[in-house]
């Protein structure tokens, strides 16, 4: 579904850019959940942004193939329309823009790009209500401006409601577990399973901690260090990391 081959990328700065990804290779098949763990500065968020197509993140080598397409040649909104979802580590606040209005326009833009009929207001509201309930989020919050005045946990929950509404084929979730309390972590974990644990879908779960993996059981765990995958294993690798630390394992 997603094949990353020898990916090199750097983050462009005003005065100098520095290499962050240094030959990362990874392959996720449909129906699989892969977890990526690694110390601070290993390049986890850079990987997420490169996959999402964020400006300023420059690919200097390697390829990414997504469902047979050259992902890196696509614009961010085209990637979304092709079914890729990027869950932000720090969801952005957008004053004045209502969550529901933005999501409806986003969903309908995606549908139009895929040649599908746009959803009516009523159909969309029904869908939004259903997904908000799944993530135990108050519908009133969805009417407010995007993420404005939301706590860290509410922002992450909102990311998952958005994922539920957009129903992507592939999700890259960048530290979706950070900022969540224990109860919210369980709700979010169950939400990820409900939305993404399906035969035709794939997930790349970027996390610092093993705890989320208790709820969303990965098929593979990769350790990212200095911009490349240094070790790959099953769910037991996450437990070993938690016990012994990155230095001992990687």
């Amino acid at each position: 579904m997603l094949t990353i081959d020898n990916l090199h990328a750097e983050v462009g700065g005003t005065n100098q850019s520095r290499p962050i990804l240094t030959g990362l290779s990874l392959s996720v098949k449909a129906g699989e959940v892969h977890a990526i763990m690694g110390p601070n500065g290993a390049g986890k968020s850079t990987l997420a942004y490169v996959l999402g197509g964020r400006p300023g993140y420059e690919v200097t080598g390697g390829t990414v193939s997504y469902m047979g397409q050259d992902l890196l040649a696509m614009e961010p909104h085209e990637r979304a329309a092709a079914g890729l979802f990027l869950g932000f580590q720090y969801p952005v606040e957008i004053p004045g823009v209502s969550n529901l209005q933005f999501l409806r326009e986003a969903l309908n833009s995606q549908r139009r790009a895929r040649g599908e009929e746009p959803l009516s207001g009523g159909e969309f509201l029904k869908l939004a209500r259903e997904k908000a309930a799944l993530l135990k989020m108050d519908m009133e919050m969805l009417k407010r401006p995007v993420n404005v005045g939301f706590s860290g946990g509410e922002k992450k929950r909102n990311e998952m409601v958005q994922m539920g509404i957009l129903d992507p084929a592939f999700a890259v979730l960048d530290e979706t577990d950070s900022g969540l309390d224990i109860d919210a972590l369980r709700v979010v974990g169950e939400g990820i399973n409900a939305i993404m644990r399906k035969p035709g879908k794939g997930v790349l779960l970027i996390t610092h901690y093993q705890r989320l993996l208790d709820y969303v059981r990965p098929d593979f765990v990769h350790v990212l260090s200095s911009g490349r995958i240094v070790r790959t294993g099953g769910p037991e690798l996450a437990l070993q990391l938690e016990e012994q630390g990155y230095e001992a394992v990687a």
């Binding site: 999402g52 197509g53 964020r54 400006p55 614009e75 961010p76 909104h77 990637r79 979304a80 329309a81 990027l86 932000f88 969801p91 952005v92 606040e93 957008i94 004053p95 004045g96 823009v97 209005q101 933005f102 999501l103 326009e105 986003a106 969903l107 833009s109 995606q110 790009a113 401006p145 995007v146 958005q162 957009l166």
Partner: protein, 255 residues
């Protein structure tokens, strides 16, 4: 406005004006429109565009608000190569004036909203909100003055001027101005000039919105500030919907 002589850019209120264009139509065919709202009455005006002659659209309005009167003016300044809306307001005791102005410019347009709001007596309030979106090499100016007379105690005047530049060559002038002679007053004023938040644009794109739609959504939210007060003042008249529609259509030309 003195109709005998062509204004020059040495005059503060005409400092950013397109005086060459002005010369083609000067002197104007008539003096300013005069509006007077009787004590305790309320009135409103919605301007969705200014009529142009030889590429110049000038509209001057002088408003007198008698004690306890209220007046709301919502205006969209766009379209003509040079357009200027000039507003003079005189507020008597306890009167209220509301201005919601939107400037939408592209190409090499010069667009202006220039106001002079005089709190002549105590307990009057005013609220002026101007939002400008400028593309190309357009220039948009919001010069909003509040004057508070010596005995106009407990004046409450708010000015909020913000501009969004879409292209490198666009210019915005945002100038709230205060002249306060009374001592017990509240006069809030703010002015900002900026560009669209790139992080927000990427966030919207990552959810599937094409760049043009993402910009439209953010700019729509930005200019909506100017119409917020209208939601309550004009409720039931459809005027807010009318000017928002006109603003959205004009915004489309900028994207």
């Amino acid at each position: 406005m003195n109709l005998a002589t062509l204004p020059t850019r040495k005059l503060e209120d005409w400092r950013y004006a397109d005086v060459d264009a002005l010369a083609r139509v000067w002197p104007p065919a008539h003096g300013p429109e005069r509006i007077s709202v009787r004590a305790g009455d309320a009135d409103r005006m919605v301007i969705t565009g200014l009529e142009a002659k030889d590429g110049v659209a000038l509209r001057e309005i002088e408003i007198t608000l008698w004690p306890g009167a209220r007046f709301s003016l919502f205006a969209l300044v766009h379209g003509a190569p040079y357009a200027r809306l000039g507003i003079k307001v005189e507020l008597m005791e306890g009167a209220h004036f509301e201005l919601g102005g939107v400037i939408l410019g592209s190409g090499d347009q010069t667009l202006e909203i220039v106001s002079d709001v005089h709190h002549a007596a105590p307990d009057a309030t005013s609220n002026q909100v101007v939002r400008s979106v400028l593309a190309g090499t357009a220039t948009g100016s919001a010069l909003n003055r509040v004057r508070v007379a010596r005995d106009a105690q407990r004046t409450d005047a708010v000015q909020s001027i913000r501009a969004m530049l879409l292209d490198r060559g666009a210019s915005a002038n945002a100038k709230p101005e205060l002249e306060i002679l009374a001592d017990d007053v509240k006069c809030a004023h703010g002015a900002t000039v900026g560009e669209l938040d790139r992080q927000a644009l990427f966030y919207l794109a990552a959810r599937g919105l094409p760049p043009q739609e993402a910009r439209r959504l953010m700019l729509q939210a930005f200019i909506a500030d100017a119409f917020v007060a209208g939601e309550s003042h004009l409720a039931g008249h459809g005027d807010v919907a009318r000017i928002e529609q006109a603003a959205l259509a004009a915004l489309g030309a900028l994207l």
